[in-house]
Structures are given as structure tokens and as C-alpha cells.
């Protein structure tokens, strides 16, 4: 269990500067793509060389760090692919120029650990620095790492986040794999499509976390990851998770469901809703952020926002009835039906 103090999120929605999640930003060519903000604190010469994922990650990180006097004791990033665009740009050069003399910039920018490394470099931070790349659970593993570090040193502070980008290339690979919708689709129609695949997304969400309850934005009271394709296993694991982390007699006010409009994955989300026995209101977020491996970081940002503002936009609502207040939110996400996670987020001072 730990507390979230500061948050920052760059997504396809207005989550960064001048936050407005009530107005839904629409898809462009089936992509929920980030309109990048003006980045503060990154020298222009360095910014120019950075790939998109690194810019988003570093930009969001510096926003969080500027709110804090405390130097963080570590930088922990979850990203499945890091700088994919640079990676394939370099790959294309290898093939197109038949392994001729190449410039190393794209290669250096493409290493998955470059986001955490650049944050460390720009903030002069020589402490713990790591990158979790476990595909759809990269961010959750980063959170588990932060949670353990805060058990090991209760006075420490960490910067933890999830970042992934849409590149033309991974978009192509995921399309070939059947993970994105073939038909043109508006964001608001995602859950009615009745077809396989989802909308492509990207983003960066960063969090300043520690064990200090005072002035905290929210508390993360439980995290669990599992690998299975069985919806029954997901349901039974969720029940165990609830038994462990939700006090007897108390309830979850909102399920923030990772439903991504892929008809093949519906069974997992239905199974979780069934476990909660319709006592919990349900909201969805992938029509806002799209589908990408570390999107659960964006979901955690939304949960923190909902807990603080006590406000849920109508376009996120699945249930027709809503709770009188938001105190405890469960995020359930499935990545491609084989990697699943539960995160329990609570308002400070329930």
C-alpha cells in the first residue's frame, strides 16, 4: 500500500494542461493519438533528438517532478516498446541501405530503457533506475516494484509511470495481428461495434508515490497481476483479491473497466462485473485513451482524478446509476486476453 501525491498524464484527451475529460476528443484514422503539449524543461537540442515516446515520458515526468522538493529515490518506468518509431526507423535504414554506414541516433533512442534513462539524465538523478517491459503488465510490474521499494524504505519517494507510443510500424504489426478495428470507428461507438479489435492508443502517465498519507491524492491499496486465458480464473482471482483488500462490509464504488470493444475479450470484463454482482457502478476509458500495453497507467490517472474531483463524465458511464460518492475504485484491465491486472485505488481518508 502506498500513496500517490502528484500525477501527470499525456493522452489523446485533455489530461495534461487545462484538464477537461468531459469533452471527448475523437479518433483520427482509428487512432487515439496524443497531441503533444509544449514541453517545458527539456533543452531544445535534446528535445529535437528525442522520439515521441521519450518526449511524452520525459515531458510528463518533469511535470510531476517540478511539484516536488524531494529528490526521488528512484525512477521506474513500465513500457512494452519504448521508442518503437525510432527502433523501426533504424531497422528500415539497416535494410534499405543494406547495412551501410548508419547514424546511431535512432538506435540509441530506440532502446526501451531510454525513457527512464533520459528522465534520470535530465533530473540529474543517480538513484535506482529501471524499466519494466512485460508487455501488457509493464506498468503494473513497475507499480509492484515501487510498492516493494516503499516496503524496503518507508521514507523513500519514487517516480513511477507507464509510457507507450503508436508508431506507424507497431500500428501495422498490431493490425496484421487483428488487434485493431478494420472498419472506421468513432471513439464514442467503441463499445457498440460488436467486432474484434480495438482502437489504437498511446500516452504517458507518471506518478509521485511514497508512504506519506498527509496531503496524498489517493492510495493504491492492492495490485495483482495474472496470466491466463480463462475467464473463470480471472473471476476467481478477482474474488480472492477483493477478499484480501476490501474490508468486510465495505464496497467498491466504481469499476473502471478496460473493456476495449473487442468482442473476443468481452467475456473477461463480463466475468469481473459478475463477481461484483452489479452492486458496483461501471465506467470505461478505452474510448478515451485507446488500447496500448501500458494504458493501465492512464486508467490509474483517471481513477485519481475521479477520486479527487468526485466527477465522472457521462461518456465514461456504462451503468445508469452512479454512486453518491467515489471512495474506492477498482481498475480491471486485460491485455489481449492473456495478461490481466487488478488495481485498487482509494480516496485518501475514506
Amino acid at each position: 500500500m502506498f500513496y500517490i501525491h502528484h500525477t501527470s498524464c499525456i493522452s489523446a484527451q485533455q489530461t495534461f494542461a487545462g484538464i477537461d475529460i468531459n469533452t471527448l476528443q475523437e479518433t483520427v484514422n482509428n487512432r487515439l493519438q496524443v497531441t503533444e503539449p509544449i514541453y517545458e524543461g527539456i533543452p531544445s537540442g535534446i528535445l529535437r533528438r528525442m522520439g515521441r515516446a521519450i518526449r511524452m515520458g520525459v515531458g510528463a515526468a518533469l511535470q510531476v517532478l517540478k511539484n516536488n522538493d524531494a529528490v526521488v529515490d528512484g525512477i521506474i518506468i513500465g513500457t512494452a516498446n519504448g521508442g518503437m518509431e525510432d527502433c523501426i526507423k533504424f531497422l528500415n535504414q539497416i535494410i534499405d541501405y543494406d547495412e551501410g554506414m548508419l547514424t546511431p541516433t535512432n538506435f540509441v533512442q530506440s532502446t526501451t530503457n531510454a525513457i527512464a534513462a533520459q528522465i534520470g539524465l535530465l533530473s540529474g538523478n543517480k538513484a535506482y533506475n529501471t524499466t519494466h517491459v512485460h508487455r501488457g503488465l509493464a506498468f503494473e510490474n513497475a507499480l509492484i516494484d515501487a510498492n516493494m521499494l516503499l516496503q524496503e524504505d518507508r521514507n523513500a519517494h519514487y517516480l513511477v509511470g507507464g509510457v507507450d507510443e503508436i508508431s506507424a510500424y507497431n500500428y501495422n504489426i498490431e493490425c496484421l495481428g487483428g488487434w485493431y478495428k478494420k472498419e472506421p470507428l468513432a471513439a464514442r461507438d467503441l463499445y457498440q461495434s460488436g467486432t474484434s479489435g480495438s482502437l489504437a492508443g498511446e500516452g504517458a502517465a507518471l506518478f509521485f508515490v511514497n508512504r506519506n498519507k498527509t496531503n496524498a491524492r489517493a492510495a493504491v491499496t492492492g495490485i495483482h497481476i495474472l496470466h491466463t486465458t480463462g475467464e473463470g480464473v480471472v473471476a476467481s482471482q478477482l474474488q480472492l483479491f477483493l477478499d484480501k483488500y476490501v474490508p468486510v462490509g465495505e464496497q467498491i464504488d466504481l469499476l473502471l473497466s478496460g473493456d476495449n470493444g473487442d468482442i473476443r475479450l468481452q467475456k473477461y470484463y463480463d466475468a469481473c462485473e459478475h463477481v461484483l454482482r452489479h452492486r458496483t457502478s461501471v465506467a470505461r476509458f478505452k474510448h478515451m485513451m485507446g488500447e496500448y500495453p501500458s494504458v493501465s497507467a492512464g486508467a490509474l490517472w483517471l481513477a485519481c482524478y475521479i477520486l479527487k474531483e468526485q466527477f465522472l463524465p457521462v461518456h465514461m458511464m456504462k451503468s445508469t446509476t452512479l454512486p453518491s460518492s467515489y471512495n474506492r475504485i477498482l481498475i480491471y484491465n486485460s491485455y489481449k486476453g492473456s495478461q490481466h491486472s487488478f488495481m485498487l485505488v482509494e480516496k485518501n481518508e475514506i
Binding site: F90, A117, T130, T131, I144
Partner: protein
């Protein structure tokens, strides 16, 4: 707190297909670095590589692994994983158990299939069998699926320190009660992608690498995999164990995207932090398996960091001169070598060393020797300033 023991090991590299073969080769001072035969690249005959001379078909048959979409990286990982699990005597039930964690690491993942990835990334039709095999996690996810593992599963990529971080993470999962045992390690296979990347940085040597030599001219890329089985001493009091993982530290150099600072701040902090974690003094270290890539930058930076920390330099060597630099596998392979140092009370020679670096005068071990060893340090430093040191102790 109960100690974390290493109860099983598996390794495959250019100098051997098992831990025993690797040890025999290290004793002999065998070098596995030479011309590349496995796939066509313009640099195959121009630069030397630490290649494992088992092609993918041989590996697939040996491992009985014929599922579609398996990459060489996954096959090498599977090879080392199976050896480690068998060595530790883990049962199928233990592998399925919710308290068995798997922590993998890789930098190239399935991108060893550079040409296939090029096709899949750029063509709109006819995806290959490898669509979900390119990322680093694909390796770990295959092991998870193949052995129906249910515990915490994770994958790291911190460049050349990746598998050292996987190892320390496994220990922390156990200490925090999130796992009873952890199978930890890493893998990388040779790839056009990394060959061209490192070549563009001008740090590949056309000679066999000469770590810590005044006239060193760069590194040689290698491939390999290694896994360790970590268990809590209290839970396996009767079990044979090679060593204890007693210290570890991850620190960042925060200096440059692809080179280390002159004074080696990151390496210094990682080594110092590992000593603190182990609760020992610098003088207690009997031997260091250095990162020692053979590049101009790494070896001077690491040397200076070691000299800052150690009043009296312990014996040290770099096995990169045997295996080449296996990137995401290096931390785990060299952890195995460090444990072999301890378990057999012996040190292996660093190869190709002739003349010490003028400003440091450090000389690595150059001949095989029996030596009393209590604490062995293993260093792994990577791009992005990601530095990790591990300390293994005699049981």
C-alpha cells in the same frame, strides 16, 4: 531475514551449451569469439562475434520446441531455463505454483528476426508467424505459457544490465513475500539490429576484445542465456546451494545516453550500494567479475570507479573476452560465472590482455588459479547509465 540461495543454474553461450561446459571452457581459457555463420550480414566476416554454434533447427529439435513463432532468443532462453530448473530439482507442481516467480530480461527480444520484422512493420498484408514475437516480453511469456506458470511474471530491459536487474528483482520478490522462489535471468541472440547499432556507435572491435588493455579497440557482440533459481534458505534448509545472493544495487550514471562518466559515478554507486546491502566492506570482496567490455569508455570508467572504492584492488577479470558481450544475458551469464568462482574456489583468466591502461595500471587475472573466495562481485553497466552490481557469497 533468511538468506537468498542460488539452488540451480543454467547457461548457454559461445563457450558452452551448459554450465559444466562453460566452466570447462573458462578453466581452459577458451575463446568463443570468431566469424559469424548463423545468418547473413555484411559484418559476418569483417567482425568477430561470440556465436553459439547450434542453429535454430538443432535447438528446436533438442528442446522439442516446434510451436510457430519461436525466435532464437526464446530458444536460447528455454535451453538455459530448463537446465536451471532441472538443476534445482523444481517439480512441475512448483513451476505451476502461485508463489513461483519468473523474471526475464532481454534487450533484443525477437528483433533477432530483423528481416521478418522489417516485412511485418512495413507491409500491409500477410503477417508472418512472428507478429507477437518481437518484443522482449515474448521470451518470458513463452516460458510462462509453456510451463503454465502462475506466479508473478516480469521482464526487464535496462540495456546491458537487464538480467542483473532481473536477478536482484527476484531476490526482492522473495524478501517481500511475493514469491517463495524465483527463476531469474536473461537472454539475447545476435541480430542485425544490434550489430548495426553498435557498429554505428563505432564501438565494435575488428579484433577479439581485450578488456582493460591499454590498446583495447572495442567490444565483440555475443549471444547467450542464463537463468538462476533463487530460493529462501529457511524454506530449503537441506537443499544443495551454490552460493547466496547477498548484495545488489541498481544506480544510474546520469551522464550520457550511451557512455559512462569519466569518474564512473554510476558504477561506483552500484558497487558501493551492493556492499552496503550485503553488509560487508570493500576489503571483504575477494574477486570481481568486471563488466569489462573492452571499449575505450567502459574499461577506463569502470577502472576508475573500482579504484575509488577499493583501497586495495581485489583480483578481477572480464569474461567478455571468452563470450563476447551478450547484452541482456551478460548479467545472468556472469552471475553464473561468479557463482562458479565461489563454488569451486577458482578464478578464470581474462583473455587478450597485454598492457595495463597507463593511468590506472590495473591488471586482470591472466591465468587460471585456485583461490580462497568468500565474496564475489559481478558488475553490469548499460546504455542509459543503467548500472547494477551483484554480490554472491559462499554458503
Amino acid at each position: 531475514m533468511s538468506r537468498i540461495l542460488v539452488t540451480g543454474m543454467g547457461a548457454i553461450s559461445a563457450i558452452g551449451n551448459s554450465v559444466a561446459e562453460n566452466r570447462a571452457a573458462l578453466i581452459e581459457g577458451k575463446c568463443g569469439i570468431g566469424p559469424l555463420e548463423g545468418f547473413p550480414t555484411r559484418y559476418g566476416s569483417l567482425l568477430p562475434f561470440g556465436e553459439i554454434k547450434l542453429n535454430n533447427e538443432v535447438l528446436k529439435n533438442k528442446l522439442q520446441a516446434h510451436e510457430p513463432g519461436l525466435t532464437r532468443t526464446t530458444l536460447l532462453a528455454l535451453h538455459a531455463f530448463q537446465e536451471a530448473v532441472a538443476d534445482a530439482g523444481l517439480t512441475h507442481q512448483q513451476l505451476h505454483s502461485f508463489d513461483t516467480a519468473l523474471v526475464g530480461a532481454s534487450t533484443v527480444g525477437g528483433m533477432c528476426l530483423t528481416d521478418e520484422l522489417y516485412q511485418d512493420a512495413n507491409n500491409k498484408k500477410n503477417g508472418s508467424a512472428y507478429l507477437s514475437s518481437y518484443d522482449c516480453a515474448s521470451v518470458t511469456l513463452h516460458l510462462q505459457e509453456r510451463f503454465a506458470m502462475n506466479g508473478i511474471i516480469n521482464t526487464f530491459n535496462t540495456a546491458c544490465s537487464s538480467s542483473a536487474n532481473a536477478i536482484l528483482y527476484g531476490a526482492r520478490l522473495i524478501k517481500n513475500g511475493l514469491a517463495e522462489r524465483a527463476i531469474v535471468g536473461g537472454v539475447d541472440s545476435l541480430a542485425k539490429f544490434t550489430i548495426n547499432g553498435f557498429n554505428a556507435l563505432h564501438i565494435l572491435s575488428s579484433q577479439k576484445c581485450a578488456p582493460f588493455d591499454e590498446h583495447r579497440s572495442g567490444l565483440n557482440l555475443g549471444e547467450g542465456a542464463a537463468f538462476l533459481v533463487l530460493e529462501k534458505e529457511k524454506s530449503v534448509p537441506e537443499k544443495k546451494a551454490y552460493a547466496a545472493l547477498s548484495g545488489y544495487c541498481n544506480a544510474n550514471d546520469a551522464f550520457h545516453a550511451s557512455s559512462l562518466s569519466d569518474e564512473g559515478d554510476g558504477p561506483y554507486l552500484a558497487m558501493k550500494g551492493a556492499l552496503a546491502r550485503a553488509g560487508i566492506l570493500a576489503a571483504d570482496i575477494s574477486f570481481i567479475n568486471a563488466h569489462g567490455t573492452g571499449t575505450e569508455n567502459n574499461d577506463i570508467s569502470e577502472s576508475k570507479a573500482m579504484l575509488r572504492l577499493f583501497e586495495k584492488m581485489p583480483a578481477f577479470a572480464s569474461t567478455k573476452s571468452n563470450t563476447g558481450h551478450t547484452l541482456g544475458a551478460a548479467g545472468a551469464i556472469e552471475a553464473v560465472y561468479s557463482i562458479l568462482n565461489l563454488a569451486n574456489q577458482e578464478v578464470y583468466p581474462s583473455l587478450n590482455f597485454r598492457e595495463p591502461i597507463a593511468s590506472t595500471r590495473l591488471q586482470p587475472v591472466q591465468t587460471y588459479a585456485k583461490m580462497p573466495l568468500q565474496q564475489v562481485m559481478s558488475n553490469s553497466f548499460g546504455f542509459g547509465g543503467n548500472c547494477t552490481s551483484l554480490i554472491f557469497s559462499s554458503c
